[in-house]
Subunit: 421 residues, 2 copies
Amino acid sequence: MRVELLCTGDELVTGLITDTNSPWFEARLFELGVKVERILLVGDVRPDITHALLEVASRADVVLVSGGLGPTSDDFTLECAAAAAGVPLVEHPQVVEWLRARYAKLTIPLTPAVFRMARVPQGAEVVQNPMGSAPMVLLRLGRCQLFFVPGVPREYRALAEGEVLPRIRAALERDPERVYRAFRLLRTVGIPESQLDAKVSGLVARHPRVVFGFRTHAPENHLKLMATAPTQAEADSALAAAEAASREVLGTAIFGADDEEYAPALAKLLTRTGGTLSTAESCTGGLIAQQLTAVSGASNFFIGGAVTYSEKMKMAWAGVSPELLARHTAVSRETAIAMAEGVRVAVGTTHGISVTGYAGPTGGTAEDPVGTVYCALASEGRSTVCGRYSISGDRDRVRLFAASYALELLRQRLLAEPSSP
Amino acid sequence: MRVELLCTGDELVTGLITDTNSPWFEARLFELGVKVERILLVGDVRPDITHALLEVASRADVVLVSGGLGPTSDDFTLECAAAAAGVPLVEHPQVVEWLRARYAKLTIPLTPAVFRMARVPQGAEVVQNPMGSAPMVLLRLGRCQLFFVPGVPREYRALAEGEVLPRIRAALERDPERVYRAFRLLRTVGIPESQLDAKVSGLVARHPRVVFGFRTHAPENHLKLMATAPTQAEADSALAAAEAASREVLGTAIFGADDEEYAPALAKLLTRTGGTLSTAESCTGGLIAQQLTAVSGASNFFIGGAVTYSEKMKMAWAGVSPELLARHTAVSRETAIAMAEGVRVAVGTTHGISVTGYAGPTGGTAEDPVGTVYCALASEGRSTVCGRYSISGDRDRVRLFAASYALELLRQRLLAEPSSP
């Protein structure tokens, strides 16, 4: 089944609003095994909309058209649909009745403009809108089924969910060529996209039913597995095999699957091992603490974080000695280690994480230019580890990756630890 | 000038990501008086991309094509462009050189896959990507100029801003039918969108050449003024009048204009008054420190931030007494005040900011339910102020608004202070 989406409205082509309806609907369809072929956004220009309707109807089996069904003068999608179908616009008595009932209930004056919403292409079918005034309209153009719904997100979603998806589902069940899909998103951190691709490229040929896709979501890279098969059971089993093979190749670079985000995954690990955590941040300036405390229940493991943005506070809160700072400077392996060990002891936690570096755009030295970051991890009864990283990009990017590298020191250590009893 | 956008990528047609690049670019073009005609999103299917390229090139003068320029096997936009143009893909020696230099600097292994990014349609022009590996590619198809850029937002924006828009601007300057526009974005904080609308609605009739638009960007609300006129001078003067009237109505709720963001604006004020700052955060967990230190040069005024996520650390780092905590609990006006005053003294700064509250989803008391936040500001030689706020929404939203309310205490105090000599 070939499905396209057509969204109309000047606000969509002038940057005033972002189309969030389409991604929502695409995801719902994808779960049914249907990949939307195209999404087309056009402004409020009559010939452009008419032309777009004819164009999408010439290719697709099903088109969801949104926007331009309201009562104002810039709402003329159905007028364009009538032009495309070569039929007149007619007032639909059922819609008139719905509008009268709705406006009486809302005690809003029923102006003549309201009845613009009752004018539909001759021969079109109408469905009541549970969330608003403008009805959903169904129209066939050649062999294509068009669904017209309002662009207002809650009306769009109510009608797409309650009326459009059930009709598509029913059609799919009658389709002898129906395909079934299964998905898995594997979230990785610490390997660049090109290396991720290189690592899994050897698997592709052995999993012909699975598409391997990549997505960068800095500092993470995600591997998307999509299996397609003639039955759901075959799709599921093809996916499971590809997932197992990918996990074997990627190992602990995978921190979560599907909706599982980084900070909650790390929080779960910390909770499982019964550990507590403190942080001493210089160039990341609280970013690590903020990411961890965004997780509900963070107070169970996160006890305190010091943003030591001056030498004075590195001494006061993270116990770094003035001599060490004087000898090695604030951005050095020695200072990172002292910060991690110092904050761990000061706060009294199982683990202490630190970051110090040059986030830029100014600063840095010949040996440690802008983008150089030292991250350290101190843990009770374990030797302290410290990494030096060279991060390219602007201040935001250096901070983002620095936070990620620091947290990775902890995650990799926790993965190697036994669970607490 | 007819401009269209073509975005490629399975993630855009399967609901995995929302296309935020296009609205950003549309808005930038609209400021130049150009309304984008169509935005087309297609999945990673070779014939679909090739067909889409031929289709957009047959109608538009300029097309910005994004996505599919990376090193992985699902990146084949340029292959489709070559097919559409009827030319072979060739390795571009200049791009090879850029890639070698970049990978050497990043010390990432230069795998053969990397050089996929150097293969461009024969005859295409290339421009170096300041933010990533894949270059921008320029290609003509008939009378249409196509610009190919990566879909990664920071690379897309850097190239669209630095390379595409200047070329479009130059072409527009040669167009005799051009209309002139002038814009101002007034950024406010602390007033809900409906109140912002009510405050400026009286101005609309007196400024017929100016469109007043509103945009919510939590915790901020922005007022967008757009003047249109037959000459640039008339557009500028209509805009200036509307801006002056809006500023009079909105006062200090406006913290910045156009690209001026909140933290840099506050940083400027702090620098102007010669003040330094420390923070003690509980429920915001480092969010305030992170926002402030995202500003380059923050070390001039930001000295230290304590994320006191436990009673113990509220005592140790912010000097809150155990008796006060026992009597008033950690979430109280008294604790917020003690945290702000305590951290200010401990760090030795002009100002000290604190936040304590219930970010949810669990916690809270009958008097102070989830969403209740206390923010305090202590300043040298001034009496400490403290506000209690009830914030609706989820954990992220409570934290975001709590940080904003706390910083607003400081900004409003600084606005009332004289500049340092």
